[in-house]
């Protein structure tokens, strides 16, 4: 026993190395998958406030472009106001609000890694919860995976484990969108049935099946469709509508009915 201890002590350098590497690898694998990242994310106010101080200094550089973007979006939204429409149908339409949008500013963002994340300056204090969808002014941007009091971490669409349930706008066909290209502009549409032929600039939208994104949010447009013979399912390249490189303002989507829908689904399973 004593010799064992002496042996261990003599090799403490190697042993310590092995232990620390095992701990590191454990940490890596634990947060690798979507669900792992969801369970073990360490979003804290410390890192958040560092990034937001820094982006507070640098955001002035892009003020002009940001203003243009926001003005464009305002114009789009005004077009959607009921006052912009001539009411010819006098029937009363009852509407319940389904989604609430929480505006947020991106304080840190990566686009060129194998797995990309963003951090935004809204947290649990503002009603952000895990697994809420995040959209830019144009279309989908990511999913919230970690929340602290004032900040939240978002798994960007540019992440290996990101898979969004989508629909081809023209035909309504269900497909999935994943990211496997290393290119921050392009993603892949998978699970396209063989009878469907996609063309350049066909629009892909969210299906609304996942309860994370509302239906009909634009994901991107088709770049090319590589159809192989004798294959049941084909894949296509999609160009994201959101420019992740310059993303500054996003909206976190709070699906108000999600708890109700979730409990209904759980009832069905049990």
């Amino acid at each position: 026993m004593r010799t064992l201890f002496i042996l261990l002590w003599k090799n403490q350098f190697f042993l310590l190395f092995v232990i620390l590497e095992v701990v590191s690898v454990f940490l890596v694998t634990r947060s690798y998958s979507y669900h792992g990242a969801l369970a073990h994310n360490t979003t804290t106010n410390v890192s958040g406030s560092l990034f937001s101080t820094y982006s507070g200094i640098t955001e002035y550089l892009n003020l002009k472009e940001d203003n243009v973007l926001l003005a464009e979006e305002n114009a789009r939204l005004r077009n959607g106001l009921s006052s912009s429409f001539l009411l010819t149908d006098t029937q009363y339409v009852y509407r319940d609000s389904l989604y609430k949008f929480i505006p947020a500013k991106v304080v840190s963002n990566s686009v060129s890694r194998s797995n990309n994340f963003m951090m935004v300056n809204k947290g649990s204090k503002h009603g952000v919860k895990k697994e809420m969808g995040v959209v830019s002014s144009f279309g989908t941007a990511g999913v919230v995976i970690g929340v602290s009091q004032n900040y939240s971490t978002i798994m960007s669409m540019l992440h290996q484990n990101m898979k969004i349930s989508a629909r081809i706008k023209n035909s309504g066909q269900l497909v999935s969108v994943v990211w496997e290209s290393n290119d921050n502009l392009l993603g892949s549409v998978i699970d396209i049935p063989s009878h469907i032929k996609l063309f350049y600039s066909d629009t892909i939208i969210t299906s609304g099946n996942s309860l994370i994104f509302p239906e009909g949010i634009i994901i991107g447009t088709i770049e090319s469709h590589n159809k192989e013979k004798n294959k049941q399912l084909s894949r296509a390249t999609i160009k994201y509508i959101t420019d992740f490189g310059t993303l500054k303002h996003v909206y976190i989507i709070n699906n108000i009915m999600k708890a109700e829908q979730d409990s209904l689904l759980n009832k069905m399973v049990n």
Binding site: T42, R113, N115, N182
Partner: protein, 170 residues
């Protein structure tokens, strides 16, 4: 002793901040990711206790991981670097006798020696880092391309930093 301690703490804070705020946002051609914070590990005193070196490296890596949200990736690369550092120094400068407080640098290793020391350790740690990040061997050529270009860039930046702030060769 005190002087070395304070100097390294300051170096740690500055390099972590620069890494997290500047270099992590740098995106050169999509595959060059400079890792400058490892300069802190490379510049710890030559005769530092090896186990202490491992623990410091782990802590440094975890700190970077904490800010980038990539738990364990930088930690594993830093620990590997710390593990190979004493051997690398012995391999390149085995016949030298360094005083206990001496730090690696242009004055102690010489221009060529310091360059070899940096490029070898940076390459190995970034090799592990990028493969840890992808966790697969698909796209292996792309990953290797990333490793090589990032190593060259990191080495270049570290060298420039040392020329400006390091002690000059005698």
């Amino acid at each position: 002793m005190n002087n070395i301690f304070v100097r390294n703490i300051i170096r740690f804070v500055i390099l972590i901040l620069i890494q997290v705020l500047v270099f992590n946002n740098m995106n050169l051609g999509g595959y060059m990711h400079p890792y400058i914070y490892i300069l802190f590990l490379l510049l710890l005193p030559i005769n530092i206790n090896r186990s202490l070196l491992l623990l410091i490296a782990f802590f440094t890596g975890i700190t970077i991981d904490y800010f980038t949200g990539t738990m364990g990736i930088n930690a594993s690369a830093s620990v590997l670097l710390a593990y190979l550092r004493p051997g690398t120094i012995r391999l390149f400068f085995g016949n030298h006798d360094f005083s206990s407080k001496e730090e690696p640098g242009l004055s102690s290793f010489g221009l060529i020696g310091f360059f070899k020391y940096i490029i070898v350790l940076v390459f190995i740690s970034q090799l592990l880092l990028f493969f840890m990040e992808v966790l697969s061997f698909n796209n292996i050529l792309y990953t290797i391309q990333q490793v090589i270009l990032s190593t060259l860039l990191s080495t270049f930046i570290i060298f420039i930093v040392m020329l400006f702030f390091g002690k000059r060769a005698k």
